[in-house]
């Protein structure tokens, strides 16, 4: 049976093809269109999945959309309804108005609802099924949908290695739901508890993300990064916003947030009264005088240091509270399910600091779907349909995150030939390749590393990566200046051979397939005595978002780490995604060459071909 899962229209569009219970291919639209977070209909991702599996659209048995559009619109009406009622009762600022009197002019529809209705008609969001049917020229009855959190649940459990697990989803919001606790067993997922709007930990985190001057759905990582520079001084104030319920659920105090009918900002005046003025986007951030330009006066510098500290403390506080909430929900889920196996999905599951604590402090066997956000719902939608509607036996778990575009040697040759860059050599073997690349890395070079099929999910895992020497204290600055242009508070992550991981990092890697560290989804402390050994990847709070690599999970990358170890004594490389700031990760050799040509990367490795940044004249 062939099931195509699709997500689009809201966040990152994606497609995934399930063939007889095996994920044949999966891809995110942004990688093909080169538009970051592209939410358009995933034409190219679908075309890729079909081509990769050698399947024609006519041979696909079912196409499954990842959420219930009608239910989502019902929620939008409901939310407006609640707000209008509150206004009518004088509970909120704004003029009172009669609710739902029959409107003869658009003025009688509340502005929020008018705006949403307008955009839903304009973008044809009501009829996702019809849209898919006409885009793909397939009969309407071939297309169906599953609920948003059912997609997340399926992405979390069915792709995990567990036969029995607690399954927890947490995100901003799907249709109505924002979090679900369920029990997974074999091919069945049984829901036990759901939390609905307006209570949402994802939206709370996003509200602080916006307050701290970052883009929602993108800057959440920056909040995590910034938290490392602060102390949770505002813990009590943030914690007061959250009630943890005995049944594993939670409630969010609403006076500080606008989660029902947000117009521009997700927080209220009450929020500002409690937490002060929001941080300006791109505002200077510094933790010491030397981070700042010399031409600032002492008073100016002191003010930047003070405000940086303040916002970092807020980030640390919201991060601490989010971790506490996640630990609370997961503890209850684990107790309900009667197992320490835990599967997570939903955007909140990308909180790698919380994931690290779930592993280290709580000892769960954790699986996090690598594309935990809505892109992952392409796989989730297909998987949910396959098991729960088609009643098929349990699909194969997630064997590899490398489900995207393969590297075609013919494309490599063509792209290099027209690039004008000097091809140093194409190695005959991986052994020769890793010797060569480890040599230039040990010499201080920054390397673009493109191998095999592209990653599924937001992290570069050694298929579309930029690599550099983690032992070089200047490397963070070098990579930032030459290609990434990241804020000071964003750490760079390490890739380490799994066998050496516990020598450098304070955790015991679970080598079973699917451990979050394979997907760079958990943060762990760097061992105290190793911090000075790997300064480029040790964050301000002494932690790192570790990727473990085995000879089975990624043989060439593993061999490279071993070769680097022979030269530098450390089987660790700085591993950051191969893209310029604000762009999606490179996908094809052409994308890689383009990024290479406008950045300060020293060498580009495409399969076994090594290209120098010298231009051939």
């Amino acid at each position: 049976m062939k099931v195509l899962g699709i997500s689009f229209g809201f966040h990152d569009s994606a497609a995934a093809l399930l063939v007889d219970g095996r994920i044949a291919a999966a891809g995110q639209e942004e990688r093909f269109t080169r538009i970051k977070h592209d939410a358009e209909f995933p034409r190219r991702a679908i075309a890729f999945c079909l081509a990769q599996a050698g399947v024609a659209i006519a041979d696909v048995d079912r196409i499954v959309y990842y959420e219930n559009a009608l239910k989502k619109f019902d929620r939008i009406v409901w939310a407006t309804n609640v707000r209008e009622q509150q206004r009518a009762n004088g509970g909120l600022m704004g003029r009172a108005r009669t609710l739902w009197k029959a409107a003869t002019s658009t003025k009688d529809v509340p502005p929020y609802l008018e705006a949403v209705t307008h955009s839903w008609f304009k973008l044809d969001k009501f009829d996702a099924i019809g849209r898919i049917s006409s885009e793909l020229a397939v009969p309407r009855d071939k297309v169906t949908f599953v609920d948003h959190h059912d997609s997340h649940l399926a992405a979390a459990f069915y792709t995990s290695p567990f036969d029995h697990a607690a399954v927890v989803t947490m995100d901003g919001v799907g249709e109505y739901e924002t979090a679900v606790i369920a029990v997974g067993r074999g091919a069945a997922i049984e829901r036990r508890l759901a939390i609905s709007l307006p209570h949402s930990i994802g939206l709370l985190y996003s509200a602080f993300t916006a307050f701290l001057g970052f883009e929602v759905n993108e800057g959440e990582y920056k909040v995590m990064g910034m938290a490392a520079f602060g102390e949770p001084r505002y813990y009590d104030a943030v914690r007061k916003l959250i009630t943890l319920r005995d049944d594993g659920g939670f409630e969010i105090e609403q006076s500080c947030f606008e989660f029902l009918t947000p117009s521009l900002l997700p927080y209220t005046d009450e929020f500002l009264r409690r937490f002060g003025a929001p941080r300006e986007p791109e505002a200077d951030f510094a933790v010491q005088r030397s981070d700042l330009p010399d031409n600032l006066t002492d008073a100016e510098a002191a003010e930047i240091l003070r405000s940086s500290r303040h916002y970092a403390d807020l980030a640390a506080s919201v991060q601490r509270c989010t971790e506490e909430l996640m630990l609370h929900v997961v503890a209850k889920a684990s107790a309900i399910a009667g197992t320490r196996n835990v599967c997570l999905a939903g955007g909140v599951a990308l909180n790698s600091l919380a994931n690290g604590r779930l592993i280290r402090e709580c000892g769960y066997n954790l699986f996090v779907h690598p594309a935990a956000g809505d892109a992952g719902n392409a796989i989730g939608a297909a998987a949910s349909y396959y098991h729960r509607v088609a009643n098929k036996p349990r699909m194969q778990g997630f064997a590899s995150p490398y489900l995207g575009t393969p590297l075609d040697p013919v494309d490599v040759k063509a792209a290099v030939a027209v690039s004008g860059f000097e091809e140093i050599t194409t190695h005959a073997s991986d052994e020769a390749l890793v010797e060569h690349v480890s040599e230039v890395l040990a010499g201080g070079a920054v390397v673009g590393w493109v191998q095999g099929q592209a990653e599924w999910g937001p992290r570069a895992l050694g298929a579309r990566s930029i690599l550099a020497d983690a032992t070089n204290p200047a490397m963070k600055r070098i990579v930032n200046e030459r290609v990434k242009f990241r804020e000071l508070f964003r750490p760079f992550a390490p890739a380490v051979t799994a066998e050496a991981a516990s020598q450098y990092f304070d955790f015991e890697p679970n080598l079973a397939t699917g451990a979050p560290e394979y997907y760079m989804l958990a943060v762990h402390p760097v061992r105290a005595e190793k911090k000075s050994v790997i300064p480029a990847i040790t964050h301000a709070d002494g932690t790192a978002r570790v990727q473990i690599v085995t000879a089975a999970s990624n043989p060439t990358f593993h061999a490279l780490l071993k070769a680097f170890e022979r030269r530098k004594g450390v089987p660790i490389l700085m591993n950051t995604s191969f893209n310029l700031r604000g762009e999606p990760m490179v996908d094809s050799p052409r994308d890689a060459i383009r990024t290479f040509s406008i950045s300060g990367i020293d060498y580009l490795v495409l399969g076994r071909t090594v290209v120098s940044s010298r231009v051939e004249l």
């Binding site: 019902d74 929620r75 009406v77 739902w100 409107a103 002019s105 307008h118």
Partner: protein, 66 residues
């Protein structure tokens, strides 16, 4: 029929279909909204359908919920 009249007729047909679908799905909030505000919604839809299908995002936060 003028283009706009044809568009309006299409939109009304679509709203009928949506009301039926919302009712069938048990989505009473949406069904009631479309029923009670039919004329206004039709005007919103006619206006929306005359615009190019480009997406302008109110803010990432708002967008993520709609």
């Amino acid at each position: 029929m003028t283009d706009i009249a044809a568009l309006r007729a299409d939109v009304h047909k679509e709203i009928d279909r949506l009301i039926a679908e919302f009712k069938a799905g048990g989505f009473d909030n949406a069904a009631r909204y479309l029923t009670d505000n039919r004329a206004a919604v039709a005007e919103i839809a006619v206006k929306a359908r005359q615009e190019p299908r480009t997406r302008e995002l109110p803010s990432p936060f708002v967008y993520s919920m709609q």
